[in-house]
Amino acid sequence: MVDFSLWDIIRNLLLAGRWTIGLSLIAFIGGSTVGLLLLMLRLTKLPAVEPLVAAYVQLFQGIPLLVQLFLAYYGLGLFGINTSPWVAAGIGLTLYASAFLTEIWRGCVAAIPRGQWEASESLALSFYEQLRYIILPQAVRIAVPPTVGFLVQVIKGTALASVIGFMELTKVGKTIANATYSPFLIFSCVAVMYFLLCYPISLYAKHLERKIHVHR
C-alpha cells in the first residue's frame, strides 16, 4: 500500500486530465473534418453516395464505442501498424465523432428551406457557390449549439479509451484507486473533474440554443 496525500491524488488526476483534453481535441477536430467531408459528399447528390454515408452513420451509431475502440486497437495491430493507444484511441474516437457530427449537421442543412436552394440556383450560382454563400452560413448558425453540446459527449467518450490502456483521467483514477484502496474518494474526484470539464460546456450550449430561439 502506498501512501498518497489528497494533494498527490488531485495533482496526478489533474496531470492525467491533460491527456483527456488532448484526446478530446484530436477526436473533435478529426471528427469534424471527416464529418464535414462526408456531409459534402452527401450533399453533392452523387449516385449511391447517400445510402453509403447513411450506412456509415448507422454502423458507428449502432456499435458501442467500446467495441469500436477494441476494433481499432486490434485491427491496427493486424495490419501491422504500431498500436499505440494514442493512434488507436484517436482513430476510434474520430470515426465515432464523425458519424454523429455528420448526422447532426445533415439535420442543420436540411433545416434550411428548399426555396433557398432554388433561389440560389436561379441566380446561376454553382453548387459550390450555393453552399459557400447561401446554405452554409445559415446552417452553421443552427449547427453551433448542438455541436458544442456534442463536445461533451466526446469528452465523456474519451473515458472509454482507458480500456485499451490509454492513460487518461479514468485509467489513472483506477490505477491510483488500486494503489491506495480508497476508490470511493478517488472516483468521486474523477467524477468531479469530468463534471468541471463538461458542465461549463453544457451550460454554454444551452445558452447558445436559447439565443438562437430568441432571434427566430
Binding site: Q58, L59, Q61, G62, I63, P64, L65, L66, V67, Q68, F70, L71, Y74, G75, G77, L78, F79, G80, V152, K156, G157, A159, L160, S162, V163, T170, G173, K174, A177, Y181, S182, P183, F184, F187, S188, V190, A191, Y194, F195, C198, Y199, S202
Partner: protein
C-alpha cells in the same frame, strides 16, 4: 502482407455469444423499466409551468443536481464509483447489481430531461379541463398530462434507450457477463481478437436496429395507439 481472418473460431463459441446477448438484453430491459420510472418521477419534480408541480424547492434542487451530475460525467466512471466505491463505503454489491444500478441511474437522468420536454409542451387548457372534471393532481398527471407527453418524446426516448443498451458494453469491464465480455472471453480462448469484436459489433448493430424497430412499433401499437 496477407491477413487471414478466422470467423469460425469465434462463431463456434456461440453459447458464449448467446449468454452475452441474453445478459445485454436483460440488463437493458430492467434498466429501461426502472430508468423510465425514475426519469418520469424526476421530470415531474423538475417540470415547471404545468400547474401540478408542488415539489419542495430542496427536492427540485436535489433532482437538478442529480440530472446535471450524471449527464456531465462518463458512464464508466459512474459504474466504477458504484462497483468499486460503494463497497469501500460499506455497501457490498455484485457486478450485475452494480451494472443495473448504474444503468438505471444513467438512463433516469437522461429520460428526466427528455420527458420534461414533453411535459412542458402540454397545453394549459388540458390541465384546466382535467381540473374542471374534478380530477385531482395525481390523476391529472397520470391520465391527462403524461400519456401525450410520452407519445411526443417517444422517438427521443427510444434513441436514449439504444444508447444505454450500447453503453451496457462497458459493464463487461467489471465482469458482468454481457456481450462485450463474451468477446473478451472468446479472444482470450483463441486469440482471435479482431474477429471476436467484429462478430460482437455486428450483433450489437443487429440488436440496436432491432430494438429501435420493436420499440417504435410497440409504442405506436400498444402504448399510444388509441389515445
Amino acid at each position: 502482407m496477407r491477413i487471414q481472418l478466422d470467423f469460425m473460431a469465434v462463431l463456434s463459441q456461440w453459447p458464449l455469444l448467446l449468454t452475452g446477448v441474453a445478459w445485454t438484453l436483460s440488463l437493458t430491459a430492467i434498466s429501461v423499466l426502472l430508468g423510465t420510472l425514475l426519469g418520469t418521477a424526476c421530470a415531474w419534480v423538475r417540470a415547471r409551468g404545468f400547474g401540478a408541480n408542488l415539489a419542495p424547492a430542496w427536492l427540485q434542487a436535489a433532482v437538478g443536481g442529480y440530472v446535471e451530475l450524471i449527464r456531465n460525467t462518463p458512464f464508466i466512471v459512474q459504474l466504477f464509483f458504484i462497483f468499486f466505491g460503494l463497497p469501500a463505503a460499506g455497501v457490498k454489491i455484485s457486478a450485475e447489481t452494480a451494472s443495473v444500478i448504474a444503468m438505471v441511474i444513467n438512463l433516469g437522468a437522461y429520460a428526466a430531461e427528455i420527458i420534461r420536454a414533453g411535459l412542458e409542451a402540454t397545453p394549459k387548457g388540458q390541465i384546466e379541463a382535467a381540473q374542471s372534471l374534478a380530477l385531482n393532481r395525481t390523476q391529472t398527471f397520470v391520465w391527462v398530462v403524461l400519456p401525450p407527453a410520452l407519445k411526443k418524446v417517444w422517438p427521443s426516448l427510444v434513441s436514449q434507450i439504444i444508447i444505454v443498451m450500447l453503453g451496457s458494453s462497458v459493464c463487461g469491464q467489471i465482469s458482468t457477463q454481457e456481450l462485450s465480455y463474451s468477446a473478451d472471453l472468446i479472444q482470450s480462448n483463441n486469440f482471435r481478437s479482431f474477429e471476436a469484436f467484429i462478430v460482437v459489433g455486428g450483433i450489437y448493430l443487429v440488436l440496436s436496429i432491432g430494438t429501435r424497430q420493436l420499440l417504435n412499433w410497440a409504442g405506436a401499437k400498444f402504448l399510444f395507439g388509441r389515445r
